[in-house]
C-alpha cells in the first residue's frame, strides 16, 4: 500500500495517498464514508483502485471526519469539504485532475468542477442525484436519519443497509462483516449522521448548468435511472453510460466503469477552455444613504463612508471575498463558497452597526463569465436584485445559495417567490441571526 500522507486545510489534516504514475491525474471522491487503509486491504476496493491506477495517477483521500482524517472543529459544509479536496490536490502536486465522485461524493465533485473548471480535466460521477437522493418525503427521511444515528455500526443495521444497497453481495457472511467494519472505520455515528443529513438537504439543481467541463455520468440499476438521467440532462454536455448490474451502492462492483472513464478522458475532443465558473456574488448597499449624507454634510459623510469601506474590506479579507466593484456606497464581491459569503455579509452588517450605518445584503450563486478579471452574467444582475429586495439589516439569499450550505448551521426564513426584474422569479430566503 502506498504510504499515507496528510494535506492541511487550516488546522485540519486530510489523509491522502497517491497510487501509480499515469500521465493524467484522477482524484476519487468517495461516497459517504471511507478509510484509505481499510479500503486498500479489501480485495474489492484494491482491485478497483489498481485498475484505475494503471490508467491514471490516482489520488485517494478521506473526507474530514472520516477514515484517517481529522474531524475539524464542527461539522463541515460541502464547501469546506471541497476546499479539503483543493488542499489534497495542492499537496499531491496536481494542477489539473479528472474529478471522479461516487454517489454522495458526486455532489462535492460537481461543486468542485463548477467552481474550479481551470483545474478540472473532466468530471465523472457515479449514481449522481441533483437533490438529496430519492426519498419518500421529509418524514421518512427524519425517521431514517434517527435510525442511522441510533444504530450506525451495529451488525444488524449494517446488514440491512447492505441488503438494500448491494443485494448481490449481501448474502455472503464475509461481505456482511466486511461492510459493517467498512462503515465503522469509515465514520463514527455522529459523523455519519452529519454527512447523510447534509446529503439529503443539499440541492445542486441550479449548479449543474454551470458545469462546463466534459462530464461523464455513470449509473447502475433502474432505481437511480431517472435521477441520473435528470442530472445528465441538466449538465450541458454530459455523456451518459449505464453500467451492468443492479446494485445501488459500490462502484467497486463495476470494474468496467474504469474502461468507460479511460475512453471518455482519452476521447478525441477539443480542449475546453472554460470562460465561465460557478461563483457566489455578494452585494451590499447602505440604507437611506441620501438622507444620511444630507444630515451629515459632505465632509462628515465622506469620512463615514471611508470607515464603511474599511470595515467592508476587512470582512472581505477575513472571508476570502474578492472585491469586484464599489458603486457609490455599495460593494460587489465574489466568493468561491456561499457559506463564506453569508458569514461575510453577517460580519459586515454587524460591524457597520457600530459606526451608525445600516446595510442590506444579497447573496446569489451561479455561473459567471470571466473577462480579464471582470465578472459578468445574469447571476450578477440577479445578485444585485436580491440585495435590492433585502430590508435594512437583512441578508437575503436565493434558493440556490440555501441549497448549497446544508450542514453549515445557518438558518433561514422563507420570503417566498419573488420576481427579480429582468431575471425571472426566484425563491428568496432571509438569513436568521446566529
Amino acid at each position: 500500500m502506498p504510504d499515507i500522507r496528510y494535506a492541511k486545510n487550516g488546522g485540519t489534516s486530510i489523509a491522502y495517498h497517491v497510487v501509480g504514475d499515469g500521465p493524467v491525474d484522477l482524484v476519487y471522491v468517495p461516497d459517504y464514508v471511507s478509510n484509505l487503509v481499510y479500503a486498500w486491504e479489501t480485495p474489492r476496493w484494491r482491485s478497483f483502485y489498481e485498475r484505475l491506477s494503471r490508467s491514471f495517477r490516482l489520488i485517494l483521500f478521506d473526507k474530514r471526519g472520516t477514515g484517517l482524517s481529522d474531524s475539524g472543529r464542527e461539522f463541515a459544509t460541502l464547501e469546506t469539504r471541497m476546499e479539503d479536496l483543493h488542499a489534497v490536490l495542492d499537496a499531491a502536486g496536481s494542477e489539473r485532475a479528472v474529478v471522479f465522485g461516487s454517489h454522495e461524493g458526486a455532489g462535492m465533485a460537481t461543486l468542485y468542477a463548477a467552481t474550479y473548471p481551470e483545474r478540472t480535466i473532466a468530471l465523472v460521477v457515479f449514481q449522481p442525484s441533483a437533490a438529496g437522493g430519492h426519498y419518500e418525503g421529509p418524514e421518512q427521511m427524519e425517521e431514517d436519519l434517527r435510525e442511522l444515528r441510533e444504530q450506525w455500526g451495529t451488525q444488524a443495521w449494517c446488514d440491512e443497509l447492505l441488503r438494500f444497497g448491494a443485494p448481490s453481495i449481501a448474502e455472503s457472511p464475509e461481505d456482511r462483516e466486511w461492510f459493517a467494519n467498512w462503515l465503522r472505520v469509515g465514520a463514527s455515528p455522529s459523523v455519519a449522521y452529519g454527512l447523510n443529513r447534509a446529503f439529503f438537504e443539499t440541492d445542486l439543481t441550479d449548479v449543474l448548468p454551470a458545469v462546463r467541463v466534459p462530464t461523464l455520468v455513470l449509473y447502475r440499476g433502474s432505481l437511480v435511472e431517472p435521477e441520473a438521467l435528470d442530472f445528465a440532462h441538466r449538465v450541458r454536455s454530459a455523456h451518459t453510460v449505464r453500467v451492468a448490474g443492479d446494485d445501488y451502492f459500490g462502484i467497486y462492483l463495476s470494474p468496467e466503469a474504469v474502461d468507460e472513464i479511460e475512453t471518455f478522458v482519452a476521447g478525441d475532443r477539443p480542449p475546453v477552455v472554460p470562460d465561465t465558473v460557478l461563483t457566489t456574488v455578494l452585494f451590499t448597499d447602505i440604507v437611506g444613504s441620501t438622507e444620511r449624507a444630507r444630515e451629515l454634510g459632505d465632509r462628515a459623510w465622506r469620512q463615514l463612508l471611508e470607515r464603511h469601506h474599511a470595515v467592508v474590506r476587512r470582512e472581505l479579507a477575513r472571508f476570502r471575498g474578492v472585491e469586484r466593484d464599489t458603486a457609490g456606497d455599495g460593494f460587489f464581491a465574489t466568493f468561491d463558497g456561499p457559506a463564506r459569503a453569508i458569514r461575510c455579509a453577517q460580519g459586515i452588517l454587524q460591524s457597520v452597526d457600530s459606526i451608525g450605518l445600516e446595510l442590506r445584503a444579497g447573496v446569489h450563486s451561479g455561473e459567471c463569465e470571466l473577462h480579464e478579471g471582470k465578472v459578468a452574467g445574469i447571476v450578477v444582475s440577479a445578485g444585485a436584485r436580491v440585495a435590492a429586495l433585502a430590508q435594512r439589516g437583512e441578508v437575503l439569499v436565493s434558493s440556490t445559495v440555501k441549497d448549497l450550505v446544508a450542514g453549515s448551521g445557518l438558518e433561514f426564513e422563507d420570503r417566498g417567490e419573488q420576481e427579480l426584474k429582468g431575471v425571472g422569479a426566484w425563491r428568496l430566503y432571509s438569513v436568521l441571526d446566529a
Partner: protein
C-alpha cells in the same frame, strides 16, 4: 482484514454519552463484569493484535468482558479535546447502557488514570480496580514538560508515516520486533485509531495530567500490574493507593497480552478476597462560593432589599449548579458549598457564577478542591472540605481559585491558570499551591 489468521471481532455497539456515541463491545456472559479500557485504541483493529483475541476471550471466561472506546479515538465520535472527566462520563455511559452496576475496572497506561480517578470518585460503582502499566504523571518537571510540548508539532507532522510507526512499534514491544505481522498490525491499528490533530490533543492531556493526589483516595481493592521496564512508575502508583497489591509480570514489552502471566495475575487477584464493604469515603470536588463585602452591602441596602438581592443570588447560583450537575450541600449565610463529580465542571460552574453575580451589584469569590471526603448521609465532611473552604477564602473578588490537585486533573480541558504561590491553610497540614483560573 489484516493478513494472517481470521479473527472474530465482537459486534460493536454504541452508548450515548451526552450528544456523542461511544463504541463498546460485550464478550461472554456473567456472572461478573469486567470493564476494560485499552490505551489509545480502536476496538475493531485491537482484536487483530498478536495474541489479543486469545487474551480477550480468556478474560471473558465466566464473566462479561466489556471493552470501551472512550471519545476522540477509534470507533467512537471524535470531538476535539480530551479530559479525564469526559472519559469518565463515557465509561459511566457504557456501564449504564449495559446495566453493569459494579464491574471490575481495568485500565491500560493512560486509561489506567481514567479508571483510577473513576474508582476514587465512584467507589460504589467499582468492585475492584486493575491498573496495568499505570503512571501517576507522564512527565516529571517543567523542563521535561516544555520539551514534550515542543515536540508535539513534529509528532503531528510525522504521524501516520510507516517508518515512524514501525519505530514506535519496536520501541514498545521489542519482543515482536522481527514479527512482520505485528509491525503491519501496529501501523494499521494506529492509523485507524487517531488522526494527527487528535493525537496532539491527546498528548496535551497526557503531558499535564497528574493523579498523584488522587491515588491515596482510592478505597477499592486494587491490583497494579507492570513489566520490569515500567517498574518505577508502577511502584509509585502502588505505594500511593492504600493496600494496593503490586505484581511485576515477566516480559519485555508493554502489550498486556504479551504472555499468559498477566492473565494469571488478574485471575489470582479476582479469585482472592471476600465480598467487600462499600466505603463511605469518595473522591469529590468541592466548590465554595462566598459574597465579598456582604455586610457592607447589607447595610447600604437595608434588610428588605438585601434579602431580595440575596434571594436572586441564591436562585442564580442554584441555576448554575443544576446546569453543571453540582449538588448543593450547604448554604452558610451568603455562601454556597456544593460538590461535583468532576473538577472541570466545577470550574465552569464557578466561572459562570462569578461572572453573572455582578449583574446583581454583588461580587463573589470561589474556591475549588478535589479530595477524599466522607459521606455522612447526603452531606460531605472531612479534610478536603476544609481545604476547599480555605482555598475560597484566599480568592479575591471575582476570582476562582483552585488547588494543585484540581489543576492536575483538568489537563486537556483548555482551562488556563495563573500561579498564586504556596500558602498555609489554617488548620490543614502542609503547604498548598494555589492557582487562579485565567
Amino acid at each position: 482484514m489484516l493478513s494472517g489468521e481470521r479473527v472474530d471481532v465482537p459486534d460493536v455497539r454504541y452508548a450515548r454519552s451526552g450528544d456523542l456515541s461511544i463504541a463498546y463491545q460485550v464478550v461472554g456472559d456473567g456472572p461478573e463484569d469486567l470493564v476494560l479500557l485499552p490505551f489509545l485504541s480502536n476496538l475493531y483493529t485491537l482484536w487483530h493484535a498478536p495474541r489479543f483475541a486469545e487474551f480477550g476471550n480468556r478474560l471473558a471466561e465466566g464473566r462479561r468482558l466489556i471493552l470501551v472506546n472512550p471519545r476522540g479515538v477509534g470507533l467512537s465520535d471524535r470531538p476535539r479535546g480530551f479530559t479525564v472527566e469526559s472519559r469518565m462520563d463515557d465509561l459511566r455511559a457504557v456501564m449504564d447502557e449495559v446495566g453493569s452496576d459494579r464491574p471490575v475496572l481495568t485500565g491500560i497506561a493512560e486509561a489506567a488514570a481514567t479508571c483510577a480517578v473513576f474508582a476514587a470518585a465512584n467507589p460504589d460503582r467499582v468492585e475492584r480496580l486493575i491498573l496495568y502499566d499505570p503512571y501517576a504523571r507522564n512527565v516529571r518537571g517543567s523542563q521535561e514538560r516544555d520539551e514534550a510540548l515542543a515536540s508535539l508539532q513534529d509528532q503531528r507532522e510525522r504521524w501516520g508515516r510507516r517508518d515512524v510507526l514501525e519505530r514506535m512499534a519496536v520501541e514498545l514491544n521489542p519482543q515482536w520486533a522481527d514479527d512482520p505481522h505485528y509491525l503491519e498490525w501496529f501501523v494499521w491499528h494506529h492509523r485507524l485509531t487517531t488522526s494527527p490533530s487528535a493525537l496532539v490533543d491527546f498528548r496535551r492531556m497526557q503531558i499535564d495530567l497528574d493523579i498523584t493526589d488522587v491515588l491515596p483516595a482510592i478505597r477499592v481493592p486494587t491490583l497494579v500490574l507492570s513489566k520490569e521496564r515500567e517498574r518505577e512508575d508502577a511502584e509509585e502508583v502502588a505505594s500511593l493507593i492504600p493496600a494496593a497489591e503490586l505484581v511485576l509480570v515477566p516480559g519485555e514489552g508493554r502489550a498486556i497480552q504479551e504472555n499468559a502471566l498477566t492473565l494469571d495475575a488478574i485471575e489470582t487477584f479476582l479469585a482472592g478476597g471476600s465480598a467487600r464493604r462499600i466505603p463511605d469515603t469518595v473522591l469529590a470536588t468541592v466548590l465554595f462560593t462566598d459574597l465579598v463585602n456582604s455586610t457592607q452591602r447589607a447595610v447600604e441596602l437595608g434588610d428588605r432589599d438585601w434579602r431580595s438581592v440575596l434571594e436572586r443570588h441564591n436562585d442564580l447560583v442554584r441555576m448554575e449548579l443544576a446546569r453543571y450537575r453540582g449538588v448543593e450541600i450547604d448554604t452558610a449565610g451568603d455562601g454556597f458549598f456544593a460538590s461535583f463529580d468532576g473538577p472541570a465542571r466545577a470550574i465552569a460552574c464557578a466561572r459562570e457564577i462569578v461572572e453573572r453575580v455582578p449583574e446583581l451589584g454583588l461580587e463573589v469569590r470561589a474556591g475549588i478542591h478535589t479530595g477524599e471526603c466522607e459521606r455522612v448521609g447526603e452531606k460531605l465532611a472531612g479534610l478536603a472540605v476544609n481545604v476547599g473552604a480555605r482555598v475560597s477564602s484566599f480568592a479575591t473578588a471575582g476570582e476562582v481559585l483552585v488547588s494543585q490537585t484540581v489543576k492536575d486533573l483538568v489537563a486537556g480541558s483548555g482551562i488556563e491558570f495563573e500561579t498564586r504561590g504556596a500558602h498555609e491553610l489554617k488548620g490543614v497540614p502542609g503547604e498548598w499551591r494555589l492557582y487562579a483560573v485565567s
